[in-house]
Structures are given as structure tokens and as C-alpha cells.
């Protein structure tokens, strides 16, 4: 997030797109609800009539995967109405001229034909955000899990840049991170394009720096993303180490994924449970869990916080860092003499300019937001204040593209996926917590009540759902949150493996799978 969580109570206009925040980030949502109670206006764009839609002043029920056209039209209206923040655009951005010319043809009427949202509502939303004193954008995977995920994010940045809603209190472009430490995994360098601290692997200066750290030559090119690596299993990739991820269930195209992992010479899995993925491994290591290990975690607002050990792990389970270090040592790799989580974290702080002012003891109370470039620095709750990291904010010329697969006579229904409040991901954890089943006993396919009738289904009965890749059975829930022609399910239950169906395409830049859009057929079994 460009701005801290406490800023969520400060905007006068909030724009939520592709985020079911009340279910996925409930505690953050309480702050938005408070802002709304204090008079802030809310724009919600989401294909489903989620709770944030009920709270909205303007609700934009866009067709799944049509976000770019909506955002282009909003930019069009903002400029047409003279709401562009000229001072900000001139003072802090580049490529504005080309951008403003680019958006001229993308009228709300054009967008209506793609998004199925009335042009008048797109105008209302654009004017509301365009006139905001402090306009803040919030989004999650509903924006990124598309073949055009990067385009979606850049379209949002364009809106913030043209209205100057960035770099100030109560504004910003704010992705809400879904996993407790997904931010931290990136901070620590577990990325194919960046060393720790987001130092590019393509930058010769950083290559030198890390060659010295590792005492060896390093590759000068990017690594493949996980998606590409899975594709190359058995053909280029022959050994994998997977830490704490149930790849088989979370990734699209489940059958391919299983086959890929089976074709490896060596699969090593470090996890808490014998997950579907661990069952395929040659060696499985038992890791300590939350509550059993000391460590560090960064939240969605870049706040670096300590995790503390409260109980002993079961049996012989050991911390992940210890396991990885032991394997490295046995292979003769230098630099793995760590004796504690503290040693590991402090080494990261030495190598990451974003953490240069931090160390294990300084983050004891969790008060720092990175970047913290030196020891006397107070941290950076708000990014991009006064200047952007790379100088000026760059407008990007984005065009709308259809999803990788669109509905057809054979697959006439849009399927979109997400999480529900009580469960988390593949339930390896919530599924093993007493009582959670009371709230969510099993997977349900949410279908508009009229579609349930039209398709010859019954509320609570079974439906067969088929995509071009696979087929599954799932129970029906008649629910008016789904619009006509669009159905929703989570991916939390192994007996309803929705990712057998998904996976039509990937964002060309990030290789993020298009999990949010999949044409399907839904019928009586």
C-alpha cells in the first residue's frame, strides 16, 4: 500500500475495485466503514453484489475482466469535466500529453458496451473520484489475477496521477495483500527479478554486490517465474524445493501441475502438514508453525513486525530457515552459519537498502514502515511524498483486451473465484481449527436465483460445472450477490477443486494466472 492502514479513515472518496474487503481483509474494512460513517463517499466496482456494493454511493457491477475499459472511461470523464489536476500533472508526471490524447476516444458509452455498466454511472463515479479532496483507491486480487493484471494496476495509477491522489494523507493506490507475509517474501528477495530489497538482478551494480556476498558468479538474466518453472518441469527443471505452499491446489490447471511435480527427479517440501503437494515429494521436512517460532513479517502497509514463539513445536519440527540452511551446508554452500532467526533477519537488513535502518531489536514494537534507509530515519508510512522513486510518475497508455477466454455457446457462463470470510486459502489451517466448519460447512457455487431456476438447478442441490480444461461437481447456493450469468466459488475445499477448471491465460508481464475469469457451463448433473 502506498498509504498506511490508519489512512483508510481519512479519504473523502474511496474507490474499491476488485476487493471483497469485508470478507478478505475484515479488519481493514472496519476502517473503511468508519470513514463512510463519518461521511466519506464510496465507489465500489465488482461483478458481484458484495457487502461493499451495499455500502456504496455508486456501485458499478462490471462484467468480469472488463476493468480496463471502465478505468479508461473514468479517465476520459475526469479530463472532459476539467477535473485533471494540472499542477500535479505538470509538476510530477510525464507522458501526460500522450495519455490525455489516448483517452479521448474511450467514452463512457464505449465502456458501457464492454462493462455492461450504464454510462451515466461510470460518469457519476468518475466525477466523484475526480472531485475528491482526498481520493483513495483500494484493490486486491480482483485486479491482479487477470491476463491484464498489470494493465489494470497501471490504469488505476493513471487515475491517481491525473487527479494528484497520491503521496498525501488519505490518498494513494493501495493493494491489500492477501497473505500474512507475501509482502515480506518479496522484501526478502524471493523473486526471480529482484535481490533482497527489490534490487534488480539486471542492474550491474547489484550483481557485483551480491557476487561479493555469495562469493561466486551470478546469472545476469531474470529467472523464470514459478508458472514457467512448473511448465518446464521434467524438461529443464528437475529439482524443486517448495516451502509452505500447497501448489497443487492453489495453482490453476491442477492436473498439469501434479504431472509436472511428478516428473521431477527431486521434490523437497517443507510444510506443516502432509498437503496434497507434500504427498508428491521425495523428502518432506516438518516446519515449525506460527506460535512456535520467532521471526519477522511485513504487513500490507509495509509495517515490519515481530512474530514470537509461545510454545514448542510437535516432535522434531524445525524452523524453515534452519532446514534450508542445513541443506545448504551439506551441499557445501558458504554463508549459512545462522544460529537464530535474528541472525538471518539482521543479514537481510544489511543487504536491503529498504531495511538499512532496521534490525531485529529495533522492530520489537512494530512501529516502522519501510523504507527505513538509515538508523535515524523514522520510517515511511506514506510513499511518494513530494517525489517518486524514479523521478516522475509515468502515465501508461493502456488498451482494453478481452480475457484469455470469453463466453461462448459451449461455455456461456462467467465463473469467478475468491475467498470467503471464515476460510483461508486451501484450508490447511482454517480447516483444522475447531468450529470454522460451523460457519462454512462446504463449498458452494453462488448462482443468481433466477439462473438457478432457468438452468434447472435447485438451491442446495448439485451442479456440474465444466470448462475447457475440466469438470467438477459442486453444491448450488441461490444467491442474488451473483449477477445473472456469472457464478462464484472459493477455492478452499479440496473436494471442490475449482482450479481444475481455471487457468485460461497468464499476465504476460507477471505470469499471474487469470483465476478471476473462466467461461464455464453449469448444468444439472
Amino acid at each position: 500500500m502506498s498509504n498506511p492502514l490508519e489512512d483508510m479513515e481519512k479519504p473523502d472518496v474511496i474507490f474499491c475495485i476488485g476487493t471483497n474487503m469485508t470478507e478478505c481483509h475484515p479488519v481493514a474494512a472496519t476502517r473503511l466503514k468508519r470513514a463512510i460513517a463519518n461521511g466519506a463517499k464510496l465507489i465500489t466496482a465488482d461483478p458481484r453484489r458484495i457487502a461493499l456494493a451495499e455500502l456504496a454511493d455508486v456501485y458499478l457491477p462490471l462484467r468480469v475482466g472488463s476493468d480496463v475499459s471502465l478505468l479508461l472511461a473514468m479517465a476520459h470523464v475526469i479530463h472532459r469535466e476539467g477535473l485533471t489536476n494540472q499542477a500535479f500533472v505538470e509538476g510530477r508526471t510525464t507522458e501526460a500529453e500522450a495519455f490525455l490524447e489516448h483517452i479521448e476516444k474511450f467514452t463512457p458509452e464505449w465502456a458501457e458496451t464492454i462493462t455492461e455498466v450504464p454510462a451515466a454511472d461510470i460518469e457519476r463515479a468518475a466525477i466523484l473520484y475526480g472531485k475528491a479532496e482526498r481520493g483513495a483507491i483500494y484493490y486486491t486480487l480482483g485486479i491482479t489475477e487477470h491476463i491484464c493484471g498489470v494493465d489494470n494496476v497501471q490504469s488505476l495509477c493513471n487515475l491517481a496521477l491525473m487527479t494528484g491522489n497520491i503521496g498525501r494523507e488519505g490518498t494513494g493506490v493501495n493493494p491489500m495483500r492477501g497473505q500474512n507475509n507475501i509482502q515480506g517474501a518479496g522484501d526478502a528477495g524471493a523473486l526471480p527479478n529482484n535481490y533482497p530489497g527489490f534490487q534488480s538482478v539486471l542492474d550491474p551494480a547489484y550483481q557485483k554486490k551480491f557476487e561479493a556476498v555469495y562469493g561466486r558468479k551470478v546469472d545476469l538474466e531474470l529467472g523464470p517465474t514459478k508458472v514457467r518453472a512448473l511448465e518446464a518441469c521434467g524438461d529443464g527443471i528437475h529439482a524443486m524445493m517448495i516451502n509452505g505452499e500447497n501448489t497443487v491446489v492453489t495453482d490453476p490447471e491442477r492436473h498439469h501441475c501434479e504431472e509436472a511435480l511428478k516428473s521431477l527427479d527431486l521434490l523437497v517440501v517443507i510444510d506443516l502438514f502432509l498437503t496434497e503437494t507434500a504427498q508428491l515429494a521425495d523428502v518432506v521436512f516438518p516446519a515449525t508453525a506460527w506460535g512456535e517460532t520467532d521471526g519477522v513479517q511485513t504487513n500490507t502497509e509495509r509495517r515490519v513486525q515481530r512474530l514470537r514463539k509461545a510454545v514448542e513445536p510437535p516432535g522434531e519440527a524445525m524452523p524453515d530457515w534452519w532446514i534450508v540452511s542445513q541443506i545448504a551446508r551439506r551441499m557445501g554452500t558458504p554463508g549459512f552459519g545462522f544460529e537464530s532467526a535474528k541472525d538471518v533477519f539482521n543479514e537481510l537488513c544489511e543487504l536491503s537498502p529498504l531495511y538499512a535502518g532496521l534490525d531485529w531489536d529495533r522492530i520489537d514494537r512494530g512501529e516502522y514502515h519501510w523504507p527505513v534507509p538509515h538508523k535515524d530515519h523514522p520510517g515511511t508510512p506514506i510513499l511518494h511524498q513530494g517525489t517518486f522513486e524514479n523521478g516522475r510518475g509515468i502515465f501508461k497508455l493502456i488498451r482494453y483486451r478481452d480475457p484469455a477466454e470469453v463466453i461462448s455457446d459451449e461455455f456461456p457462463v462467467w465463473l469467478t473465484t475468491g475467498r470467503r470470510l471464515p476460510n483461508y486459502h486451501t484450508r490447511t489451517q482454517t480447516g483444522r481449527a475447531a468450529g470454522i466448519d460451523y460457519l462454512a460447512p462446504g463449498e458452494r457455487l453462488e448462482i443468481h436465483p433466477e439462473d438457478v431456476v432457468d438452468w434447472g438447478l435447485e438451491d442446495g442441490g448439485w451442479a456440474k460445472m465444466t470448462s475447457s480444461r475440466g469438470c467438477m461437481m459442486v453444491r448450488v447456493e441461490a444467491n442474488a450477490r451473483s449477477p445473472r450469468g456469472t457464478v462464484f466459488t472459493s477455492f478452499s475445499f479440496n473436494d471442490a477443486p475449482v482450479n481444475v477448471l481455471t487457468g485460461g491465460g497468464y499476465d504476460p508481464v507477471t505470469d499471474t494466472a487469470e483465476l478471476k475469469v473462466c467461461p464455464v457451463r453449469v448444468e444439472r448433473p
Binding site: P26, V27, Q179, N180, N181, Q183, G184, A185, G189, A190, P192, Y214, E221, G223, A229, H238, A239, M240, M241, N243, T247, V268, I270, L274, A278, D282, V283, V284, A287, G291, G295, T298, N299, E301, Q305, R306, E312, P319, W321, Q326, I327, A328, M331, T333, G335, F336, F338, A341, V344, G366, E367, P422, Y424, T428, Q429, R432, A433, G435, L439, A513
Partner: protein
């Protein structure tokens, strides 16, 4: 502590002290080290003034004043512990006790659950001087596995209703009736599950009497040992709510929100509050496993398993080259896991064959 600046002041138990404009008498007094009892007060909520336990004497006022709602005014003379207010408070406590079942509230009930009990003891209020009637009927019929609804202990401080509305923004519970007929309830007097309740547990944690209780923690009440608290952060979403883990011996028995948690200020959701016990599930892996000749996974010692992994990686590197190895780090594990994973790949193989699970 007296004032040397030029800001406004009040006289607190005979001493001139500064206050911040807009501060209530209660806030100023506690900031200056006074101990004023409260029951309906929760610093996160709008002042309510319902229980009147926080009364103080204000010079010139006829009756004692509720300090949690009264604003400081320049020159105000306040007495926080005079005999008169102490008598008043004791009488209030005696009346409250008469309306409540006389039970000791288990400390695992919730974060605030001891507030009432402590005040009963402090004012030695179990005198039987009043004969009250319980207000509120319990709901042992609510089958939800998280929240005990024992309204026999309810004192109508409305902290639950207010926290649900003001903090959680869910308006799931409300107040019905008045006086002895007051009842905290949900729509149609039903079960919480049928209401707007999200089971965030905030009402439980702020209840000062144990009328609302954390059933998951209470299930561990027979575990022996002293209850210890360890500050950590929730393991689920990216908000990063700070929590205190409750443990006895080596058993995790519950979670309480950290009121001073920088990201959550005392709030949690159903997962953070109630989904902690996966940690001690019998399915947890306790030993390394290695695939045997028979194609099955078998329990193995650390040495054997680590060697198997290390030799396996070396063999693949030898056979297919250093680009044949790939690492997938976790977005759930701490930094140290991701950091060592990427170093394992970069330092061990010189490649950038590392990613994390954010792409799925």
C-alpha cells in the same frame, strides 16, 4: 505533576494540572495517574455514561459527575477519591452484584472479563444489602462454537453493542427493553449465525462481566498451569493484526487482540480470533519423511532426510546443470524462510530460479 506551561488547567485532588482541549475529566485524570473505576468505558468507543461508576465530585455541581463524559473546563475542581464518591461507587456495585449471578468469572472468558470481578472485590460489594432481579436471559441454545452468551451476567453497559456498531461496523446486536427487562439480542431474537454477526469476537473481548465469553479459550480451562501471554501477529491475511497468544505450559489455549496493536488497535476477525488451534492439530508433521524404495513416504531421522535432499540437489546439478533447480518460497512463513530460500538458490546455484506463491 503540576503545570509550568500556559495551557488550560484543572484542579485534580487539590493539584493544579494541565489538560488537552477536548479531553474528558476521565482522560485527563488517568493521564495524571488517577485510578478511577469504570465499567461501561472502552477508550475506543464514544463515551456512553451508562454505569456511573466513574463519578467524581466537581466543585459547584450538586450531584457527582460521570467523568467519562464530562469535558474538562478551565479551573474545574475535581475530587476523584473523596469519601462521598467512594460510597456512591460502592452502592452502585452492591446493586450491580444483586442483579448478577454471584460467580467467579474464569480469566479465559475474555480480555476485559475480570473488570467487574475486580471491582466487586475492591468495593467488597457482596453484602446482600439489595435484592435485585437479573436482567437478561441467557442463550445457551445458541449453538455457535465461538461465543458464549450468558446474559445472566449482563449489566447493560452496552459495550458489546457499541463495539459492534462503532468498531466492527456490523450492527449485529442491539438492545431490547429497559430496566430489568433489558436484553442484548440479535434480529428476531435468533442465533448469532443468522444475524449480521461475523464472529469477530470484539464484543466478547470488551465485555467486562463475562456475560460474553470466548468458548474456544474456555474449552481449555482445565489445562493446568499459569496463563502466559506472548505478543505476536496474526498468521492469516496481510493486515497484520497484533495479538497476544495465551498459553499454559506447552498448550496454546487462546488468542486475545492487542489493544495497542499498531495495525488493528484491538480489532480482529473470525480467523485471527478463533482459528488458532490448527497449530496443535494431530495432522501436524512431527518428523521428516523420505520416499523409500517401495514408493511410499517413511519417517526418517534429520540426518538421513537432510542428506537425501542435499545429495539430490547435487546430483541434479551435476546431471542437468545448475539451472535445473528451482525454489518456491512461502508467503505465509516469516522473512527468514524466504530469505534463506532465495540465498539457497542464488548462493548455491548462481541463478535467479526463485519465486514465491503470490502468483497463484
Amino acid at each position: 505533576m503540576s503545570t509550568n506551561g500556559t495551557g488550560p488547567t484543572i484542579v485534580l485532588d487539590g493539584e493544579k494540572v494541565a489538560y488537552n482541549p477536548g479531553e474528558t475529566v476521565y482522560e485527563a485524570a488517568t493521564r495524571h495517574g488517577k485510578d478511577i473505576p469504570t465499567l461501561c468505558y472502552d477508550p475506543r468507543l464514544e463515551p456512553f455514561g451508562g454505569c456511573r461508576l466513574c463519578v467524581v465530585e466537581v466543585e459547584g455541581a450538586r450531584a457527582p459527575v460521570a467523568s467519562c463524559t464530562a469535558q474538562c473546563q478551565a479551573g474545574m475542581e475535581v475530587r476523584t477519591r473523596s469519601a462521598r464518591v467512594e460510597v456512591h461507587r460502592r452502592t452502585l456495585m452492591e446493586m450491580l452484584v444483586s442483579e448478577n449471578r454471584e460467580v467467579d468469572v474464569d480469566e479465559l472468558t475474555s480480555l476485559a472479563s475480570q473488570e467487574m470481578t475486580e471491582l466487586v472485590d475492591r468495593y467488597e460489594a457482596r453484602t446482600g444489602r439489595f435484592r435485585g432481579r437479573q436482567s437478561g436471559a441467557s442463550r445457551p441454545d445458541d449453538p455457535n462454537p465461538f461465543i458464549m452468551r450468558d446474559y445472566d451476567n449482563c449489566i447493560s453497559c452496552y459495550r458489546c453493542v457499541r463495539v459492534c456498531a462503532e468498531q466492527e461496523g456490523d450492527y449485529a446486536i442491539s438492545v431490547k427493553g429497559r430496566g430489568f427487562d433489558t436484553q442484548i439480542t440479535v434480529e428476531f431474537d435468533g442465533h448469532l449465525k443468522e444475524s449480521a454477526c461475523t464472529f469477530c469476537g470484539q464484543c466478547v473481548q470488551t465485555c467486562p462481566t463475562g456475560a460474553l465469553g470466548d468458548l474456544k479459550a474456555l474449552a481449555y480451562r482445565d489445562v493446568a498451569g499459569e496463563t502466559k501471554k506472548t505478543r505476536t501477529v496474526c498468521p492469516y491475511c496481510g493486515v497484520g493484526c497484533a495479538v497476544d497468544l495465551l498459553t499454559r505450559g506447552n498448550t496454546l489455549i487462546g488468542v486475545q487482540p492487542a489493544m495497542d496493536g499498531p495495525a488493528n488497535k484491538g480489532a480482529l476477525c473470525v480467523k485471527g480470533q478463533f482459528a488458532f488451534d490448527f497449530v496443535q492439530h494431530p495432522d501436524r508433521l512431527a518428523h521428516p519423511l523420505v520416499r523409500g524404495e517401495d514408493g511410499e513416504l517413511h519417517q526418517a531421522g534429520w540426518d538421513e532426510a537432510l542428506d537425501r535432499a542435499a545429495e539430490g540437489f547435487l546430483r541434479v546439478r551435476e546431471r542437468y546443470g545448475r539451472h535445473a533447480v528451482y525454489g518456491v518460497a512461502s508467503g505465509r512463513a516469516p522473512h527468514e524462510a524466504a530469505y534463506t530460500m532465495q540465498k539457497f538458490i542464488r548462493g548455491g546455484f548462481g541463478t535467479n530460479h526463485i519465486d514465491n506463491c503470490s502468483r497463484a
